[in-house]
């Protein structure tokens, strides 16, 4: 046991150069966004129903998933931006034709009804997938605010080296709220 610990410690020391701030890339850091204020509202009203704020704690919106989605559509996922915007517009027009209101103005119950109709469509699945990415990815990408996503599912955070105790089932590792890119919460 002691020997293992020493090895872990040494590996940590050997890897102090791990991800220097200089390695931050422009694209990931950039705050470029893809959605208009209206589109962002629709998206937030959507993902708020996928993972609502409730007694358990913050929901997808509070955790920052919409910020993540807005940024990736302007950057690495730009290829799907136009299909995504079409999907949002469709949600909006469904709300208008059914209730003569904007989707974001609908009550949670009405939004749930409408989203249930969209369940299992490619757009619904895509929003759900990107919401998961926004909630549970490294905060570096704009979501997982205050590590609330990782806290929700009890993911203990990326460590550079993991001791045998950290892999025990009886005593879960203490949360290590740290981005792989160095900004400690």
């Amino acid at each position: 046991m002691k020997r293992d610990k020493d090895i872990s410690r040494r590996t940590v020391l050997a890897s102090t150069a791990f991800v220097p701030i200089a390695a931050l890339t422009a694209s990931a850091q950039s705050a470029a966004t893809a959605l208009s204020a209206e589109q962002l509202k629709t998206l937030e009203a959507f993902i708020d129903r996928l993972c609502p704020k409730d007694d358990i704690g913050p929901g997808a919106v509070e955790i920052g998933a919409a910020i993540y989605i807005d940024r990736v559509l302007a950057g690495p996922n730009a290829a799907e931006k136009s299909a995504f915007l079409d999907g949002l517009a469709n949600v909006e027009s469904l709300a208008r034709s059914a209730h003569n209101m904007s989707f974001a103005e609908l009550s949670p119950t009405l939004r749930d009804q409408l989203l249930t109709r969209l369940e299992n469509t490619p757009f619904f699945n895509r929003v759900r997938r990107l919401t998961l990415e926004g909630m549970f990815s490294d905060p570096y990408y704009g979501g997982n605010r205050n590590f609330a996503g990782w806290d929700l599912i009890r993911y203990p955070g990326p460590r550079l080296a993991v001791a045998p105790e950290d892999q025990k089932m009886s005593t879960p590792p203490k949360p290590y709220r740290r981005s792989a890119y160095g900004n400690k919460a």
Partner: protein, 570 residues
């Protein structure tokens, strides 16, 4: 007009898992080697414990070549093929050995003689219908020496189950005899792997830790594994994963006989009127070069190897290099399109704490692989290795099935993932897979890369044996999970259908008969005597296990054969 470079003895196309090993025996013997690689060196400081970087965006690669030529696939020759969305491989010095799981298995003695062994035990009717199964032209015993050398050269951790016939039940009792133990003990146990091992023993099985090209302790100046859980599709931040970029390639460079040409995409292998190869043409930064060589070793990935041969048409080889018998692209097969893959997952009523670790930190059962059980009356041969692993990432964990216990969204979903994201685990089931007549590679008539060259096309028809193997072994996996206390287990699924895969075999099969094989037992072309082919494209069966160590042992063997026969081949 291509710029003509200084001739070398050997041009190696691709410095990945295979080429990266072959260059070591070649350069140690004094041969001048040009290593031509589409990617380049990757700085380990770019390796991050970041699921978006590694798993969502697949950014651990330095070259877009693999992404520009993603194969297309279809079920039958009547279908139109569609292009895959993910590049199965990457380009870099070290190749995919940088971001692979590093499970470093020897194939079993049975893997090399499936046809003969099956006929002997079960009769001629046991050979899967429609298959083109042949024995390998090399036996386990002949390869043992090369397995041993690679294990010690790159560093493989594990516990022997059979040292020269002496059986140790703590290791894999089904493995072929090895001359000595692994150079390092296995990766450490965890509560989870211990729990699964106990459940396997309760079933009467003999579980063990799989072998890994990952240091379990300091080895050759590099540290032991830090178990941080970002090994899958990630490079190692401390060089504890033994890719060829940190093992054999640096050793070969020390000889001063290896010159690396990076960011160089080989587009053709050239041939003379005597049907011998003369060197390779490649493109680097928009300029075309010709590298003359006495011998060419093609060591790119299965799809790339086959594609490059098809593209290298000449007077001597009108249907593609080394294809005058029409065998290039034939006898192709993949681990994933024939089986249930990771279809079996389980939910436990307690936290598993498998966030950290590595895929190679696993618990494995081989009772249902190969011919380790009686197949009489089952209607198939082979089986699968069943395995559970540590290493789970947060997005993947939250994307879990709700096992019918909760909706897929809303407050109830949120409560469900809060409780269960850390309580489920998938399995890793690898079937023995075989070549079939209805499954092959060729060039796609419609889809081309930006240079205008067609991409590789996969045609993968239905199989006789593998779907039955997948269901049978999936049920064993389910029983294993239940014995360990799982409260929900997904059912064993039917095969998912054709796709690109990181375990692609055949297409330049190795065999004694030139009528049905592209290369001979040493990996040299039956038609072009100074052309060697390295990689799983030469395999005749898949093994129920990861192929890389066997690729590397064969690469070493081909290189040594070349050194010993330099006067006649070179």
């Amino acid at each position: 007009m291509a710029i003509r470079l200084k001739p070398v003895d050997v041009a190696v196309v691709g410095l990945g898992a295979a080429g990266g090993v072959a260059v070591l025996p070649l350069t140690r013997a004094g041969l001048k080697v040009a290593g031509i690689e589409a990617g380049t060196w990757i700085d380990i400081h770019t390796f991050k414990p970041d699921e978006i970087y590694n798993n969502v965006r697949s950014l651990v690669t330095t070259s877009d070549k693999a992404k520009r030529e993603i194969p297309t696939f279809r079920r039958t020759d009547r279908d139109r093929a569609v292009q895959g969305t993910n590049a199965p491989m990457m380009n870099a010095i070290g190749g995919t050995s940088i971001h692979y799981h590093a499970q470093s298995w020897r194939y079993s003695p049975w893997d090399f003689r499936v046809r003969t062994a099956s006929i002997q035990r079960y009769g001629a009717n046991s050979i899967p219908k429609g298959s083109s199964l042949e024995d390998w032209p090399v036996a386990y015993d002949e390869l043992e020496d090369f397995y041993d050398r690679v294990e010690y050269e790159i560093g493989v951790s594990g516990r022997a189950g059979n040292i020269m016939g002496k059986i140790d039940p703590r290791g894999n009792v089904y493995e072929g005899p090895r001359r000595r133990d692994f150079p390092m003990p296995p990766l450490r146990d965890t509560d989870f792997t211990d729990m699964m091992a106990a459940a396997a023993r309760k079933q009467g099985w003999k579980p063990f830790r799989g072998p890994a090209a990952i240091n379990s302790q300091p080895y050759q100046g590099r540290p032991g594994c830090a178990y941080h859980g970002y090994c899958d599709r990630g490079g190692c931040h401390i060089n504890a994963k033994n890719s060829t970029a940190v093992t054999t390639i640096p050793e070969a460079l020390k000889t001063k006989n290896l010159k690396i040409f990076d960011k160089a995409q080989v587009t053709r292998i050239e041939t003379d009127a005597n049907a011998k190869v003369t060197g390779v043409t490649y493109i680097r930064e928009r300029r075309e070069y010709f590298q003359p060589a006495k011998v060419v070793l093609v060591a790119s990935y299965t799809y790339e190897n086959v594609r490059l041969l098809f593209l290298s048409k000449s007077k001597a080889y009108p249907g593609g290099l080394s294809n005058n018998h029409g065998q290039v692209g034939r006898h192709y097969f993949g681990h994933w399109d024939a089986q249930a893959g990771t279809g079996v997952s389980a939910l436990f009523p307690f936290d598993l704490n498998i966030w950290y670790g590595a895929i190679a930190q696993n618990c494995t059962v081989e009772e249902f692989a190969d011919d380790n059980f009686d197949h009489t009356g089952l209607g198939f041969i082979g089986g699968a290795t069943i395995q559970v692993n540590t290493e789970k990432h947060p997005i993947g964990a939250a994307a879990m099935s709700t096992y019918g216990r909760a909706p897929a969204w809303g407050s109830k979903w949120k409560a469900f993932v809060r409780e269960n994201a850390g309580r489920w685990v998938s399995s890793y089931i690898q079937c023995n897979t075989f070549p079939y007549e209805n499954t092959y590679l060729d060039l796609d008539p419609d889809t081309k890369d930006p240079l205008g060259d067609p991409v590789c096309r996969i045609t993968s028809g239905t199989k006789d044996s593998e779907p039955k193997q997948a269901v049978y072994t999936g049920q064993k996996m389910e029983a294993w999970f239940r014995a360990a206390g799982a409260v929900e287990v997904t059912e064993a699924r039917t095969p998912p259908g054709p796709s690109t895969t990181t375990h692609a075999f055949g297409g330049t099969r190795m065999g004694a008969d030139p009528e049905t094989n592209v290369v001979d037992q040493f990996g040299f072309s039956h038609e072009a005597p100074n052309l060697g082919i390295l990689g799983a494209s030469t395999f005749g069966t898949s093994g129920a296990r990861n192929p890389t160590l066997t690729v590397q042992a064969l690469a070493w063997r081909t290189a040594e054969h070349l050194v010993k026969n330099w006067k006649s081949i070179g």
